[in-house]
Amino acid sequence: MSSSSVTNSSAADETLRAQIFQRLHPRVYLERFIAEKIRPDGRTFDEWRNVSVNVGSISTADGSALVRMGDTTIVCGVKAEIAEPELDHPEQGFLVPNIDLPAICSPKFKPGPPTEEAQVLSDRLNEALVASGVLSLSSLCIHPGKAVWTLYVDCTCINYDGNAFDAALLAMLGALRSTTLPKATYNEETGRTTCSRKTRSPVQLTRNFASSSFGVLDTSHVLSDPTAFEEPLMDVTLTVIVDDRGELISTTESGGAISEETLLRCINRAKERALQLKD
């Protein structure tokens, strides 16, 4: 009786000691795992977390997607509004992506205006969507020079467990793919645009792509899809965006120097991942 309770409490003690060690010496804790060729959550270096995408569940939005990448949960909604186009681009609509990392998703974010991290993510997502040309802005034109659609693509993070960029990009694409716009007619006499509630047509996307993020530790260990525990300990973070035809859209790297071989290896892995995600 007493011996079994001793073993039970010692198992609980060990877990508590491991947790305290993780809090006090995170880098050493991670290095111990890396030495065994495994990561704290049980994945190998190359393994990706399970991804689930749920599309079209929000009725107030014109398009929506909910993405869960492991524990990282991001909700994205698309709202369409009508605006006057810019004078030098009279046939182009607007695509406005934004991501918000509110205090709800992690203890390290405090309530208030967008933090640096959120601003950087928003900017990178904007660049990714623009650089890929995923949505032809002229397809959003209602009447040249007078009325165009503006698509506000807003992501909100509900649970932040690392790698928000990949999840947010996936959510934005999912939401855009599920977006339908009502048929709009511009009345030249009154200058007003009215929409029909009955007919809706989907938004035309030109290509499909996926992003893969990696973290590099000690210049030789490349971990894909870092969690919130691993992310701040990485020396270098690397993100590769590849489309479903295997073409490279963008590569971003920050934090330090990496070898060309590492970069090529990551690009190849990203291509495999894009094919994987296609299904």
Binding site: A61, P97, I104, S106, S122, D154, I158, N159, S196, K198
Partner: protein, 258 residues
């Protein structure tokens, strides 16, 4: 939303944009849709899932047809202010996702967010044993993912907050259940949607602790006679007992699967 302003911290769109205006050709269709499909005493089915947000101490996600709310509790943690307080502080912050309402909301917090925060604060503060956490703050963050009526938001938000607090293991006197009602003509309809609340002449939101047989908050707005408002409160109170068992059941199931 008319003005996106020059918010330098976000990607900006055009200076002014207007939500689409629909022509009224299918007005009949719309009227049919806003007719109530359930009885006047029936509330919408509640789906409540605790423990959704792994980063938080406690969390809950609630979904009732078209209202979706996520709630996270962080705490007790250190108070930012240096003034000593014998009792802990409860801080409730509500945020609407930009795509949650029919008209896009600016990401900035405005008066509506704060007033909902105050309502939920009042509903749950008396159930928490704050005297056990001096100098600490309990932060409750609520994100409204889809909004179908402010009354529904406040009621569901209070439920989610109470569940999240229980999930975080914070000592409470009891679970808080909350229900809303609207006066339409001479009749009372429980749990109104946005369309129903707009068509009504007044609404009542009641929050209570059925375990202790006590009421924590009542918000009444609009025009109604005193008798009618008392009847509303009684009906809400009865319904809260059922809601309480739903919340308790979901917490038990969550613990069993842990």
């Amino acid at each position: 939303m008319a003005q996106s302003g020059n918010d330098r911290r976000r990607i900006n769109g055009p200076e002014e944009s207007f939500p689409p205006v629909f022509d009224d050709e299918d007005d009949d269709d719309f009227k049919l849709r806003s007719q109530r499909k359930r009885g006047p005493g029936d509330i919408r089915p509640i789906f409540l899932q605790p423990g959704l947000i792994s980063q938080a101490n406690g969390s809950a996600y609630i979904e009732t047809e078209k209202t979706k709310i996520a709630c996270a509790v962080y705490g007790p943690r250190q108070s930012k202010t240096t003034t000593y307080s014998e009792k802990g502080r409860l801080n409730v912050e509500v945020k609407f996702a930009p795509f949650s309402c029919t008209r896009r909301r600016a990401p900035m917090r405005d008066a509506e967010d704060r007033s909902i925060g105050v309502s939920i604060h009042q509903a749950i503060v008396s159930s928490i044993r704050l005297e056990l956490f001096p100098k600490s703050t309990i932060d409750v963050f609520i994100t409204i993912i889809e909004n179908d009526g402010i009354e529904g938001c406040i009621a569901s938000g209070s439920l989610a907050a109470s569940t999240a607090l229980a999930d975080a293991g914070i000592e409470m006197l009891g679970l808080v259940a909350s229900c809303s009602a609207a006066i339409v003509g001479d009749g009372i309809q429980l749990d109104p949607t946005e369309a129903e609340a707009r068509a009504s002449s007044g609404t009542v939101i009641l929050a209570c602790m059925p375990a202790l047989d006590s009421i924590t908050s009542i918000w009444q707005s609009g025009q109604m006679s005193a008798d009618l408002s008392l009847k509303c409160m009684e009906q809400c109170y009865e319904r809260c007992n059922d809601i309480h068992s739903v919340v308790a059941q979901s917490l038990l199931e969550h613990r069993k699967t842990d």
